[in-house]
């Protein structure tokens, strides 16, 4: 490589560390190395070493030429799941110790499953303390803050070896003076103690969610500060002098130092990259603006969306074992189902087939691994059906035994259901596909998107095995499979913008619209965006600002988000237009509208994005080398039996030519299964596009 500048983007997943690297103006390439859980920096540097070996340039030289290193990680998510966060105290308003214990109610798996234990609160009751104070809904102080009592409590916390403090007082989003004062006293009496104020972190109503946000954020602070410091030091020691950015749960990037201050934003940091990459791949081939984005991994199948070019968010992000804790934070709306390659298929006493929730994981793994796992998995079914070549498993790096897969399916599925081997294997893949489709339906339902009006962007190692079936089930054609589909998240990190959201909660009803107040709010939001833009170091022209409102009918308590195409309200016509947009969206989502009713705007929001790439178009990342040559093998198709099927190498496909199914397309990271009723084309960008034949 020459002296051009380089950008790195990495995603550290549970199994693999993906690294995408691009020299200015060149086609990016991606690399995959094993994650090193004890010290993820090692795995990351191993991936950089792979680049170094590939291009014959020392690691130090590569890193020295790099301005930007973007990093996504599941570290924070894993810390919450495994309970390895800091010993954290929670300070709440007097009388409300049990906010985290009671939650919002609910949470049972099913109506009559009385075997479930009630989940423990994220911070135990014994570490939750009341602060004598209270503020009302209008922001008035009902009970003054008892500072003497609080100081005594802080002394007590020092003796208890508390490592972090979360503060979540009632009504702090409306009046944060008490939380601010608690913060000052913590700084004064426990200098150096990491803490989080709920009103600073997440100034939204509903005390349970805001308290949960603060608790999780505070508990992550010691660990994640250390993690980002190690990452920074590790890269610097190898010669990196550029800017270290972290992928956030909202699908943007922030400076590592900022994320260390609010580490809750790095929860879900990896998967948030997938829809960012998907949006970019869709634009490259001009595919449309509304899509289902899937990422088929070894243990889970993750789904996210593009909605009219935007990446939809949710306020209900759950994290931890069995999704026990709510982050209370808007994040990229992504769903995960346990329908990965390792999910186990079984038949219950009533004769019904199930997939999961048990997974064979990596150890013992699917039956075909021959490591003692005798339960049939989705991977075993794909092997039996001929989707996967037993001699080219994981690019030929692993030996599998197809007979073991056959035995497991015969014994556990085919015999109990009275099916033959192939129909049983097909049923397993079909039901796994149904779980995937359900996850897609759940997220599209929540976001008000009709799968039939969307297309599919398929990523992950298992992308090619299921994408055609899922698209057929939901009628969401065509399917786009980018060449770098196996590194969606890292590609997303490479493309992400510096991004921030600002929101002001101030209730305004349309029938007495306060133009002055709204004008001031919008001007304030705009000023905050301008400040963010000038701090970002990018050109004004590379920044975009999008306003929206969170609104509802009076007396409703759940808002819907309505995008605005104005940045100010100057006339009744502007207000009437917003009302119309709201009525329309409400009817589309919920089948009803209340035309005679005014609209209540609860929050005024803005998203600001600064593109780090400017106008520069990045070509689609290319995959590492393929095997070559064409061959064929027998593949089973339901209702048609086994058909001899041609196997093509992805790199050999000619751009623009139509290849009808049945067909298999192989690359070292995935196999694409094209059934008899579909065909494919290779696009100019190198992606594969699957369409139904008729």
């Amino acid at each position: 490589m020459s002296a051009k500048r380089i950008t790195f983007a990495a995603d550290t997943g549970g199994t693999f560390t993906d690294l995408v690297v691009q020299e200015t103006g060149e086609r990016p390439r991606f690399y995959k190395r094993s994650t090193t859980p004890s010290d993820p920096v090692v795995g990351l540097l191993n991936a950089v070493k792979a680049v170094s070996d590939d291009v014959n340039e020392p690691v130090a030289s590569l890193l020295a030429r790099s301005d930007l290193f973007v990093f996504g990680t599941t570290r924070a998510t894993n810390a919450v799941v495994t309970g390895s966060t800091a010993k954290t105290a929670l300070l709440v308003s007097q009388g409300h110790t049990d906010t985290l214990l009671f939650r919002e109610g609910g949470g049972r798996r099913s109506l009559f499953d009385y075997s479930q234990e009630y989940p423990q609160p994220f911070i135990p009751r014994g570490l939750t303390y009341e602060v004598r104070e209270r503020i009302s809904a209008t922001g008035d102080v009902i009970v003054a803050l008892d500072e003497a009592k609080l100081v005594a409590l802080l002394q007590q916390l020092r003796e208890q070896d508390i490592e972090a403090i979360a503060v979540a007082l009632l009504w702090s989003p409306i009046n944060d003076s008490h939380e601010q004062r608690v913060g000052e006293l913590i700084r004064q009496h426990l200098p150096g103690m990491p803490f989080t104020l709920s009103s600073q972190l997440n100034p939204s109503l509903r005390e349970y969610r805001r308290t949960s946000s603060a608790a999780i954020d505070a508990a992550l602070k010691p660990l994640m500060s250390q993690f980002f410091r190690n990452l920074d030091t590790g890269l610097k020691n190898e010669g990196f002098t550029g800017r270290l950015l972290i992928m956030t749960s909202s699908g943007g990037v922030l400076d590592a130092a900022a994320v260390a201050e609010t580490p809750i934003h790095s929860i879900g940091s990896g998967p948030a990259g997938a829809p960012v990459a998907a949006r970019y791949f869709a634009e490259l081939d001009n595919m449309g603006k509304t899509a289902i984005v899937t990422d088929a991994g070894g243990t889970t199948y993750d789904v996210s969306l593009l909605s009219n070019g935007q990446i939809p968010k949710t306020r209900e992000t759950m994290v931890g074992k069995d999704g026990a804790y709510i982050t209370g934070f808007p994040s990229v709306d992504a769903r995960s189902v346990g329908a990965g390659g390792g999910s186990i298929a079984w038949v219950d006493s009533g004769g019904m087939l199930h997939i999961g929730p048990m997974s064979a994981g990596a150890d013992p793994g699917p039956a075909c691994y021959g490591r003692g796992g005798d339960k049939p998995t989705v991977t075993d079914a794909c092997l039996v059906l001929g989707y996967i070549d037993p001699d080219y498993f994981m690019g030929g790096t692993m030996q599998v035994n197809i007979d073991l897969a056959r035995q497991a399916i015969m014994h556990d599925v085919a015999e109990p259901l009275g099916l033959d081997l192939y129909d049983a294997a097909d049923a397993i893949v079909e039901l796994a596909t149904e779980h995937m489709a359900m996850a897609i339906e759940s997220i599209t339902l929540n976001q008000g998107i009709d799968p039939e009006n969307s297309f599919t962007i398929a990523g992950g190692g298992g992308a090619g095995l299921y994408c055609g079936r899922v698209a057929r089930r939901l009628n969401s054609w065509p399917v786009l499979i980018p060449e770098a589909s196996a590194a969606m998240s890292a590609t997303g990190a490479m493309l992400s913008d510096l991004q921030a959201s600002f929101m002001v909660t101030d209730l305004v009803r349309t029938e007495r619209f306060d133009y002055d107040k709204v004008g001031a709010i919008m001007a304030d939001l705009k000023a905050r965006c301008q400040e963010f833009i000038s701090d970002s170091g990018v050109e004004q022209s590379a920044a975009t600002i999008d306003f929206y409102v969170e609104a509802r009918y009076p007396q409703q308590v759940w808002e819907i988000s309505v995008a605005l195409d104005v940045d100010t309200f100057s006339s009744e016509a502007d207000v009437a237009k917003m009302e119309q947009l709201f009525h329309q969206q409400h009817e589309q989502l919920f089948a009803i509208r209340d035309d005679d009713s005014p609209i209540e705007v609860v929050s005024w929001g803005v998203n600001v994005r600064c593109s780090l790439r400017g106008d520069e178009q990045m070509p689609s990342p290319s995959a590492p080398g393929n095997r070559s040559g064409s061959q064929s093998r027998a593949v089973y198709y339901f209702g048609k039996g086994q058909l001899d099927t041609q196997v093509l190498q992805a790199q050999d496909l000619e751009t623009g030519k139509t290849y009808p199914g049945p067909l298999l397309v192989e690359s070292p990271v995935t196999t694409l299964v094209i059934d008899t009723a579909s065909s494919i084309q290779r696009s100019a960008s190198g992606s594969i596009i699957v369409t139904p034949s008729q």
């Binding site: 007097q94 009388g95 409300h96 049990d98 009671f102 939650r103 919002e104 109610g105 609910g106 949470g107 049972r108 109506l111 009559f112 499953d113 009385y114 075997s115 479930q116 234990e117 009630y118 135990p124 009751r125 014994g126 009302s136 809904a137 009632l170 009504w171 109503l205 509903r206 005390e207 038949v347 219950d348 006493s349 009533g350 004769g351 019904m352 087939l353 199930h354 259901l417 099916l419 049923a427 079909e430 039901l431 149904e434 359900m438 339906e441 759940s442 339902l445 929540n446 009918y553 009076p554 007396q555 409703q556 308590v557 759940w558 989502l589 919920f590 089948a591 009803i592 209340d594 009713s597």
Partner: protein, 589 residues
Amino acid sequence: MTKANKTLNGHKLALINNRFEGIVRAMTNTLLRTARSTILNTGRDFSCCILTHDHKMLAMAESLPIHVMSGPDLMAQCMAEFFPTLTKGDAFLHNSPYHGNSHAADWTMLVPVVDDSGTHRFTVMAKAHLADCGNAVPTTYSAGAGDVFEEGALIFPCVKVQENYQNREDVLRMAKVRIRVPDVWYGDFLALLGAARIGERKLLELIDELDTDELNAYPEEWFNYSENLMVAAIRKLPHGKVTVSAWHDPIPEVLPDGMEIKAHVAVDSEQATISVDMTDNPDCQPCGLNLTEATSRTAAMIGIFTSLGSVVPPNAGSFRRLTVALRENCVVGKPVHPHSCSVATTNLAELVANSVARSIAELGDGFGMAATGKASPAATAVISGNDPRPNGGPFVNQLMLGFTGGAAGPNVDGWMTIIGIGAAGFLMRDSVEILEMKYPLYIKSQHVIPDSEGAGRYCGAPGCKVEFGPLAGDLTAVWLSEGTTYPPLGVQGGHDGSKAQQYICYADGSKSEPLGTYERVSIYPGDHIVSISTGGAGYGRPEQRNPARVQRDVAHGFVSEQRARDCYKVVLDKAGNIDQQATENFRAG
């Protein structure tokens, strides 16, 4: 066991079932997000389901069991009888306790799903507990009503409210002049309608998409599958007959002596059937506590499903294995007009469900469940008043504040936020901030009450203490707090849960006398209602409880060290660790 020719194999069955459950969830989502009263948009006191064209319960997803297990079948049948020709675009409002509904406050929207050929294929139902239903007293639980006339609820015995997708405005106008706070009511009505229409829209899509033979075969095969699971579950239960009883609190002038409710339960584990006989109970009473046919049968069914020990889908198929004997004019049976059934979903219904669950526990350790915390503490009162704040005005709503009380099972502690066995933990709690924003309230505190759990090998959830009052303007609250006299009952040596209490703390610091089970109070800013809900009952003897669980309960402040020692016979050292030797000796001696 039913054997039928199968059109659908196991995986097809799962696929189609997922679609139906998904449609019910879409209905649920619509109702939650669009309703105006917090009892619906936060408390989730509503249910949605799908019935077959011949009125059999097909899919209920996460509906409240007391709303749906029996009742929707009767109501859909009633719709077909009253309106022999069902047309696309029709919607029917039904809340009549004498025609299959649960109680008058549960407004139900029935929409027949009629395909393009004019054939009635399914019925979708959305049922919501309204904040007000026009009762004489501002509560939807009118225990003191001598009959339906005193109760005062507007009754719609399956009345057409939409034709060709357009409102029948004449009918809606009737409601608007008889419901408190009509604007909010209309919003809730729209939410009900929206939920039903979303269900209809999605079912019509499904009818278009699926193979007709498969879709037609599905209900019966799903029922057969469910019945088979039910058979397998009942075969694991102990065979036998048992009679159980429990008492409802006395209420002065309404039910002065309280009332004993009996259930005769027979499990035939060879034939795989369960029968519950509820006929041995008093005649209908001149008060609002009488159950409806729907809730009498449903309550008994909930007791059974709660006790199965394995998960069986609740639908017309699994129901085939149950019989519930009911008689006319019985408090737990089929009420006769004009007896009032205003409170038919909670008080006696909870007693019946809990008694049946306890009866299974009486048949053998390892089965059934202890009694769940009792219905409707003051923290779930119906409140009303006039909000003096800007944008205020009259309001009426049911609270869903601290109410815990999950019962112990044979292998698990009680679920903290169960909110009654009939709701099965699927009601949600109010947010303090949302409540204080919408109504002029001040929620002073909500706490678990230490040492209130029904002790046992497995424990009931502790009770909850809540202090709340008006922040501005006066506040009327009506509650019906069962368990003030008679606590939830333990099983197999497990202890009873603690009792309910309620009183008022006045602004000057003084306290009222203890208040009764059924009260209507008016209080003023500075005063607080104190609500103490019952603890769930325990399962098995407390001295058999795993000491590690006792230690955890002490660490969390649920149980005092004193009680750990006296009741559970567990000795903890100063650091809170278990003194193994002392505990063993103590338990042995």
